[in-house]
C-alpha cells in the first residue's frame, strides 16, 4: 500500500545542461518533494531558477541527469495520459477553433465525436466560454485563450495538472478572475496541481504548500504550509492575517533569492 503522500514523488532530481562553450550549467539541483493526491502545490522562485525545466522533466520533454519523478511509483513521463500541461505561452492551435482545441486530447484518445462535444461544451460552460466555441484563437482575448488552454488540459480528466505561469501575461483583473475560476474548478474534483509562478501573492493565494526555490542552481529553499481555509475568496484574501503572515515570511526568503539571481545576471 502506498500512502497518499506518495502520489507524486520528485526523488533527488538534478538537471545539468551542457552550455555552448563546453561548460556545464546546473538548472535543477537535488530537488526532492513528495506530493499527496489532491494537493495544490505552488512553486515560486526567481526567474531563471529552472522552474520550467522541472515541468519539462515531469512530462519527458527533457530527461533528468539524475534522480527520478514518479507518479504512483512509476516514471511520470510514461504516464502522459494522466498529466495535463498548461504552458505559459498561449498554445492554442491557431488552425483549430476553441472547441476543437479543447477536444484535441480527446481526439487523440479516440473518444467519439458526440462524447467529445458533450465534454467540451460542459467544460467551456464552466469557465464562461459558452458561445465562443467556434472562434479561432485570434478572435479571443488573452484571458479567454488562457482559459481555453486550461480546460484543454482538464478535458481528459488527468490526475495531475502542471501549470507553468499560466496567468503571467494577463492583466491584474483578469488574473484574479482566472485564479478564482481555477480554484473553483480544482475544488470540484481535487486533482493534484503543480503550479509554477514568480508571483508570491499568487503562490500563497492558490497553494496548499508553497515551495520557494533558490536562484540558479534551482534547489528547494523552503516549503511553507498555507493554513488559509478553503474555499478561498481571492478578492478578500489580502485582509486575512494568515495571508499577511505568509506573505511577509515568504517575501524575506524570496527576496534573498531574487537579489542573488540579479547579482548573477550582472556578472
Amino acid at each position: 500500500m502506498q500512502s497518499s503522500s506518495d502520489f507524486l514523488i520528485f526523488d533527488n532530481v538534478t538537471k545539468v545542461f551542457e552550455s555552448p562553450d563546453g561548460g556545464q550549467v546546473t538548472a535543477i539541483d537535488n530537488f526532492s518533494l513528495n506530493v499527496s493526491d489532491g494537493e495544490f502545490i505552488t512553486i515560486v522562485g526567481p526567474s531563471g531558477c529552472g522552474k520550467s525545466t522541472l515541468l519539462n522533466l515531469v512530462v519527458g520533454l527533457d530527461k533528468p541527469s539524475s534522480g527520478q519523478i514518479l507518479i504512483n511509483g512509476k516514471p511520470a513521463w510514461q504516464q502522459l495520459r494522466n498529466i495535463g500541461y498548461v504552458t505559459q505561452e498561449d498554445n492554442l492551435y491557431p488552425w483549430r477553433t476553441l472547441r476543437e482545441n479543447v477536444e484535441f486530447p480527446l481526439e487523440i484518445r479516440g473518444m467519439s465525436k458526440s462524447e467529445r462535444r458533450k465534454r467540451s461544451a460542459e467544460l467551456l460552460e464552466k469557465v464562461g466560454l459558452a458561445g465562443f466555441e467556434n472562434r479561432y484563437g485570434h478572435q479571443l482575448s488573452g484571458g479567454m485563450r488562457q482559459r481555453g488552454n486550461i480546460v484543454r488540459a482538464l478535458s481528459f480528466d488527468p490526475g495531475l495538472i502542471i501549470m507553468d505561469e499560466p496567468f503571467g501575461p494577463l492583466d491584474a483583473q483578469t488574473r484574479i478572475v482566472l485564479q478564482q475560476q481555477l480554484l473553483d474548478l480544482w475544488l470540484q474534483d481535487k486533482k493534484t496541481v503543480i503550479f509554477i509562478t514568480h508571483d508570491l501573492q499568487e503562490a500563497i493565494a492558490l497553494g496548499d504548500r508553497v515551495v520557494v526555490m533558490t536562484a540558479r542552481p534551482g534547489r528547494i529553499r523552503s516549503v511553507y504550509d498555507i493554513k488559509l481555509t478553503r474555499p478561498r475568496d481571492l478578492h478578500h484574501l489580502h485582509d486575512d492575517p494568515e495571508f499577511r503572515n505568509a506573505l511577509s515570511d515568504l517575501w524575506d526568503e524570496l527576496a534573498d533569492e531574487v537579489s542573488a539571481a540579479n547579482a548573477m545576471g550582472r556578472k
Binding site: V59, L61, L80, Y85, N91, Y93, R96, F104, Y136
Partner: protein, 279 residues
C-alpha cells in the same frame, strides 16, 4: 437571441468590408476599360494594327475560333499536359517534401543535388525530352512535372520546417504520436506554405506546357500561338495569349477557393500575422 447569454463581442460588422470590396471591383473595371479602350482607339491611329491588333478584332477572332475552329482540340491538349504534369509534380513534391521536412539529415544530404537539378534551366531540357519522348503530350507533361515538382517540394519542405517546436511538443505531451502528430499538428501548421507552393506553381505549369509545345508539337494552345505568329497573324497570337491568360486566372481562382477553405482560420490582416511569414 436577445436576452440569452450570447457573447457580447459579436464578430466584426460585415457591411463595411463588403462595400470596400465593391469599390475595389469598380476600380478594377475602370482600369480594364481604360486600358482596352485606349488600345482599341490608338490601334490603327497611333500604331499600325497589323503589329498589335486591337481588342475588337481579338474578341471576334476568339469567338469564331471557339465556335467554328479547332479551339477545343488545342485546349484539350494543353489542359491535359497541365493537369497531368501538375498533378504528378505536386503529388510527388508533397510526398517527398513533407516527410523530408521532418528528416533533417536526409535533407542535408539531398540538398546539393536538389539545388543543382533545380538550377537547370528547364527550357534547355525541352529538346532532350522531345528526343526521349517524341512530339506527343508526354514531353510536355514531363516538362510541366519538372517545373511544378521543385516549387511544391521546396514549399512543403519549408512549411514542415517552419512548424513551431512548442506546438509539436505540446501535442506530444497530450499523447499525439507519429501519424496523428503529423496529420493533426504538422500538416495544418504547414498548410499556408503548402498552399503557397501549389499556387505559385500554376504559372510554371502553364509555361512548361506552352514552351513544350513551342519546341515541337502538332496541337495545343502553344502550337496554335506559334502557328499564328509564323504567318504574321498578330490577332491570332493575341487571341491565344488571352485564352492562356484566362486559363491561368481560372486555375488560380480554383486554388484561391481551396485556400479560403483550408486557411479559414487565419486572421484577415496578414501583414500583422506571424503565420504569414515567408508568404
Amino acid at each position: 437571441m436577445s436576452e440569452t447569454s450570447k457573447p457580447t463581442q459579436q464578430p466584426q460588422p460585415v457591411a463595411k468590408p463588403k462595400r470596400s470590396v465593391n469599390t475595389t471591383l469598380i476600380w478594377q473595371l475602370v482600369i480594364l476599360v481604360v486600358l482596352l479602350g485606349s488600345w482599341e482607339v490608338m490601334s490603327g491611329r497611333l500604331f499600325d494594327s497589323f503589329w498589335v491588333s486591337k481588342p475588337s478584332l481579338i474578341v471576334s477572332y476568339i469567338y469564331n475560333w471557339v465556335l467554328n475552329g479547332d479551339f477545343m482540340r488545342h485546349l484539350t491538349a494543353t489542359m491535359t499536359e497541365i493537369i497531368v504534369g501538375y498533378s504528378l509534380g505536386a503529388g510527388l513534391g508533397l510526398a517527398l517534401g513533407l516527410p523530408i521536412g521532418r528528416m533533417e539529415r536526409t535533407a542535408k544530404i539531398l540538398d546539393p543535388f536538389l539545388l543543382a537539378l533545380n538550377g537547370i534551366p528547364r527550357v534547355a531540357l525541352a529538346p532532350l525530352f522531345v528526343i526521349w519522348f517524341g512530339i506527343g503530350i508526354t514531353p510536355k507533361i514531363v516538362l510541366v512535372f519538372t517545373l511544378v515538382f521543385f516549387v511544391v517540394f521546396y514549399n512543403s519542405y519549408a512549411g514542415v520546417r517552419s512548424v513551431e517546436r512548442r506546438y509539436v511538443d505540446l501535442a506530444w505531451v497530450m499523447g499525439a504520436r507519429s501519424f496523428r502528430l503529423f496529420s493533426k499538428v504538422i500538416l495544418p501548421a504547414a498548410m499556408p506554405y503548402i498552399i503557397l507552393g501549389l499556387k505559385l506553381s500554376i504559372p510554371y505549369a502553364v509555361i512548361g506546357a506552352i514552351i513544350g509545345e513551342f519546341i515541337a508539337s502538332s496541337e495545343g494552345l502553344g502550337y496554335k500561338i506559334q502557328l499564328e505568329t509564323s504567318i504574321y497573324n498578330t490577332t491570332g497570337t493575341m487571341g491565344g495569349i488571352i485564352v492562356l491568360m484566362i486559363l491561368v486566372v481560372l486555375l488560380n481562382s480554383i486554388l484561391a477557393w481551396i485556400e479560403r477553405r483550408a486557411l479559414a482560420w487565419r486572421p484577415p490582416s496578414r501583414s500583422s500575422d506571424a503565420g504569414g511569414q515567408g508568404l
